[in-house]
Symmetry: C2
Subunit: 360 residues, 2 copies
């Protein structure tokens, strides 16, 4: 963690920030290992650009913080003390401070109150530089997450069949996500028939019918705090509608081309464009209604976003989803999603379940 702190400190200094204030969430866990709950009492990592970082915690959470193994000085406050004043007293000369991008608004206002002369901005530009490039241990953690969710997809046939509701199937899948090794279930999408056309559909009481396409998009977090996210599209028995099958073939070609294209040195938006062009050339351009993907790590969605307009050049260590889809509102849809990571050799794909339409 000390390496991460010193990198955060140099990057903060480079950006002209005197300190970073980081509240519970992925950034705090990344920098300290402490998976603190986001509660109403302030927990806040203070990273001055010079000097030692310290963690402000409620007195009654000192033991929990220590038990989490954080190797950092703790400053505590009692139930009727003001932690914002405490931090302000420890940062008297900070003129420019970066706040955790996900810090609560009420806290942003509280800092303004206790440090009225200080200019605030987001800490994200600093932390992003670190979290964007995964180190070897992080890549191993993402690989484990990918293998875990693949084992769940390998079992979907046990539960997904006509006559059952999406919710019933989803409950079985959620149990398996934990059984196979995730600590938490982050989301379970079972979009059957017309619901497959809603990219962010979750679960409903719709009864799955023979021949339905079913988009199954699953994610969980491992004990190490890294996320999985993989989508496969199934057919609940029967044979696919010919038009649907044709579109699916194009989708698979698009996703395959994107996997072949993505690597260090190409831009994020070019990965999106490669797939979008293939779908557009076949007349399905308007049906691919979302970006190609999102970064993944300690959050399911983080940078880099694989989207038009993102000119970021991909580098070794960047991990992201490749998940094109097509959606005909009220009729049907499909999506194929893998997590991939840029390596010295090109691209390592962390999911390897069959990508063809899986007829159950």
């Amino acid at each position: 963690m000390t390496t991460r702190w010193s990198r955060a400190q140099s990057e903060a200094a480079r950006q002209g920030l005197d300190a970073l204030l980081i509240t519970p969430g992925a950034d705090l866990r990344y920098l300290t290992g402490y998976d603190a709950k986001p509660l109403e009492r302030l927990t806040c990592l203070v990273v001055p650009s010079e000097g030692d970082p310290f963690l402000v915690v409620p007195a009654l959470e000192r033991a929990a913080a220590e038990a989490s193994g954080v190797e950092i000085a703790l400053e505590t406050f009692g139930e009727t003390e003001d932690p914002f004043q405490l931090v302000a007293s420890l940062l008297p000369s900070a003129t420019s401070v970066g706040l955790d991008n996900h810090m609560w608004a009420e806290r942003v206002f509280a800092w303004h109150d206790v440090l009225p002369e200080t200019a605030f901005t987001t800490a994200g530009t600093v932390i992003r530089e670190l979290r964007l490039r995964k180190d070897a241990a992080e890549l191993e953690a993402l690989r484990e997450a990918g293998e875990t969710i693949d084992r769940v997809h390998a079992r979907v046939h046990e539960w997904l069949r006509p006559g059952r509701t999406e919710r019933e199937v989803g409950a079985d899948i959620a149990r398996a996500i934990v059984e196979e090794g995730h600590e938490t279930v982050d989301f379970v999408i079972v979009g059957s028939g017309p619901n497959s056309a809603s990219p962010h559909h979750e679960l409903s009481d719709r009864v799955i019918e023979e021949g339905d396409p079913v988009v199954v998009d699953l994610g969980g977090t491992t004990h190490a705090g890294y996320c999985s996210d993989s989508t496969r599209t199934y057919l609940a028995g029967g044979t696919p509608d010919p038009q649907y099958a044709e579109a699916y073939t194009v989708l698979l070609a698009a996703q395959t081309a994107q996997r072949a294209h993505a690597r260090p040195g190409v831009t994020a938006e070019s990965v999106d464009a490669v797939g979008r062009q293939i779908l557009a050339d076949a007349g399905y351009g308007d049906l691919f209604i979302h970006r190609t993907g999102h970064g993944i790590g300690m959050e399911t969605h983080e940078e880099p976003y694989i989207v038009e307009g993102n000119e970021l050049v991909l580098e070794e260590g960047m991990a992201f989803s490749i998940e094109p889809g097509f959606y005909v509102s009220g009729v049907h849809g499909a999506r194929i999603e893998d997590i991939a990571v840029c390596t010295a050799d090109g691209l390592a794909v962390l999911n390897d379940r069959p990508r063809e339409l899986v007829v159950l």
Copy 2:
């Protein structure tokens, strides 16, 4: 929901706010019924103090928002459009805007950028006035949550015994929280032996020993979105240490007195003081290291806080925990927690498992 909107609108107007901006979380669910995920694409309820509220959602989440049953106009934006500019264009004359207390900092900064002439504050002072006083349906939802977690406590004896680790016991309890009817497990604290002295301990690999006191603090959320939270202290067989038993008797007297005292018309801090005095009189004042309680509803911790300095006069419909404890660092601790709600008749307590030290 329309009643809630109009109450929010009049309260916003009364406080001089032209609009409220509410992002995913409890406030959004309270005002719309939509349990939107907190993701990187902006979802935002706009409540102008005059005119109709509307919900800004990403185009690809339109179907999910509609499926959630929201009865509100939707404004959507595409993958490469700027939703902050969209909202700004719809609020051209807003001079004072309240932001969701839990809105992400990066969004607070984004509103400042697109509405540079607007003054921002928290929306909490408005929403708090609504959420603080639960209506009949909410009280029924909290009652159901309380009965559900009571059924889990009634089964703790099935799993908690010497020789098992806290983590093993916790996993069994977590499963039961869902089996008994909660939608999600919010937290499972099994603090055994010396870990019982850490109020926010969760689970560890410590093996429970014969005669250990074990603090078991459990909470989940029901399908309706309301939270449970109840603590009982168990003894893992054997007989209690006499000093511990004596302190526990005082703790129970304190919690009983607090339940007898709390009702509409008394202040929040007086409920805290009543219990604290009893513990202090018996020489345990320094061991009660946290406030007495927190409000509960669609969040586990919300207003009103039962703490010294909170002069709020309790009113019918206010729901909160009563959870005094004592903690001897590194040795042992105990806590007794019930959820209670102020009613026309006094106080209704929503948990009713035995409060004595439960010897297993």
